[in-house]
C-alpha cells in the first residue's frame, strides 16, 4: 500500500536530524556553562524549541502529514502558549512578580 501519507524518509535524513539533535544537546549544556546571565533561559528555550520542531517535523512526520494533522499539532502549541501567556500576563500586570527595572 503505497499511500501518499506513507512518505518514506531516507535513513540519511533521520541520521542528519539525529546528529543535529546531539549537536544541539551539547550546545544547550555548553550554553548553560557560559556566563550569559539573564540570557540563559532564552538561549536554552530557543535550542529546545529548535530540537522539538525537528523531532515533530521529521521524526513525527508532521512535515509529510495531512493538513488536518498539521493544524492539530499547531493548535496544541497555540493552547499551550495561551495558557502560559495569559497566566504570566496576569502575574506581571498585577505586580505579583518582581520585574527588574520596574
Amino acid at each position: 500500500m503505497a499511500n501518499t501519507e506513507n512518505h518514506i524518509i531516507t535513513v540519511r535524513t533521520y541520521l542528519i536530524v539525529y546528529a543535529a539533535l546531539i549537536v544541539l544537546l551539547f550546545a544547550t549544556v555548553g550554553g548553560a556553562m557560559l556566563p550569559l546571565g539573564a540570557m540563559h533561559l532564552p538561549v536554552a528555550m530557543t535550542i529546545a524549541v529548535i530540537k522539538a520542531v525537528m523531532i515533530v517535523l521529521i521524526f513525527m512526520h508532521v512535515y509529510y502529514s495531512s493538513a488536518l494533522t498539521k493544524i492539530t499539532s499547531i493548535a496544541a502549541l497555540l493552547w499551550a502558549s495561551l495558557l502560559l501567556a495569559i497566566t504570566l500576563a496576569d502575574y506581571f500586570s498585577r505586580g505579583w512578580l518582581d520585574i527588574p527595572g520596574k
Partner: protein, 252 residues
C-alpha cells in the same frame, strides 16, 4: 489447493508463521486505507494535544514559581546531576532515532526490522528509567525529597539568607527552594510514568509484530506508537534545560 491459499503461501514467503497480510484491512466505516490511516494519526495527535496541555500546566506552575524566586530555583538546580541528565537526554534522543527507523521498517514491510528497532527502543527507555532511579535515590539520600525529611543544604540556606531582606522573605525563599524539588520530582515523575507506559506499549507492539498480528505490516499502528514515544522525548527536551541547566556558569 484453492487459489486463495496459494496466494497466502506466496505472501508468507516461506515463514513458518501465519501468512502475512500485506494488504491493509479496511474497516467498513472508512472510504479507503489512506483515510483510515489519517484518522488514526489524527486521533493520536488529539491525545497528544491533551498531553501537551497537561505538561503545560506543570510548566506554567514552574514558570510562576521560578519568576517569583529565581535565586532559589537557580540554587536548587545546582543539585541536579547534570551529566546523568545529559546521558539520559542522549539515550532518549537515540531511542527516538531507533523508533523512527522502526517506523520506516514497517513502511517498507520489513517486520523483523520493526521488532528489533522496537526492542532497542524499549531497552533504551529502560536505561533512561534506571539512570533516573539512581538520580532519585541520590537526591532522597541528600534529603532533597520534599516532605518532613527535606533539608535545605547549609550553603544554600546561607546564600538565600544573603539575598533576603527580612526573616519572612528568607522563609519564603527556603520554601521556594523546596518548591523547586516538588516541581522537579513531580514533573520528572510524571514523565517517567509516561516512559513506563511507552516501554510497555513498545514491547506489546513488538510482540504483536513478531506474531504477525497486524495487517498491512502494521504501518499505521507503529507510526501512532512512534508519535507517542517522540512526544515523551520532546517533553524531556524541555525538562532537561529547565530543571538541570538553569545556570552552570558558576559566577553569579
Amino acid at each position: 489447493m484453492s487459489s486463495l491459499s496459494t496466494t497466502l503461501e506466496e505472501t508468507a514467503l516461506g515463514r513458518d508463521v501465519a501468512p502475512r497480510r500485506t494488504e491493509t484491512l479496511l474497516s467498513p466505516h472508512f472510504d479507503n486505507v489512506e483515510q483510515q490511516s489519517n484518522a488514526s494519526i489524527l486521533g493520536m495527535w488529539f491525545f497528544l494535544s491533551t498531553e501537551i496541555m497537561f505538561f503545560s500546566g506543570l510548566i506554567a506552575a514552574y514558570t510562576i514559581y521560578r519568576a517569583l524566586s529565581p535565586e532559589a530555583f537557580r540554587l536548587g538546580s545546582q543539585h541536579m546531576h547534570v551529566w546523568l541528565g545529559f546521558f539520559n537526554t542522549l539515550v532518549l534522543l537515540t531511542s527516538s532515532l531507533t523508533m523512527a527507523l522502526g517506523v520506516r521498517e514497517s513502511q517498507l514491510g520489513r517486520r523483523d526490522g520493526v521488532v528489533w528497532y522496537l526492542v532497542a527502543t524499549a531497552v533504551m527507555g529502560a536505561a533512561f528509567l534506571g539512570v533516573k532511579a539512581v538520580e532519585y535515590s541520590m537526591e532522597i539520600e541528600h534529603h532533597l525529597f520534599p516532605g518532613v525529611n527535606f533539608q535545605v543544604p547549609a550553603e544554600d540556606a546561607e546564600a538565600l539568607a544573603e539575598i533576603s531582606a527580612t526573616p519572612e522573605e528568607l522563609q519564603t525563599n527556603l520554601g521556594r527552594f523546596q518548591m523547586m524539588f516538588v516541581l522537579y520530582f513531580f514533573i520528572t515523575g510524571v514523565h517517567a510514568f509516561h516512559m513506563i507506559i511507552g516501554i510497555v506499549a513498545v514491547l506489546i507492539m513488538a510482540a504483536l509484530m513478531k506474531r504477525n498480528w497486524f495487517s498491512g505490516n502494521g504501518t499505521t499502528q507503529i507510526e501512532v506508537l512512534g508519535l507517542y514515544w517522540h512526544f515523551v522525548d520532546v517533553v524531556w527536551v524541555f525538562l532537561y534545560p529547565l530543571l538541570y541547566l538553569i545556570d552552570l556558569s558558576g559566577g553569579h
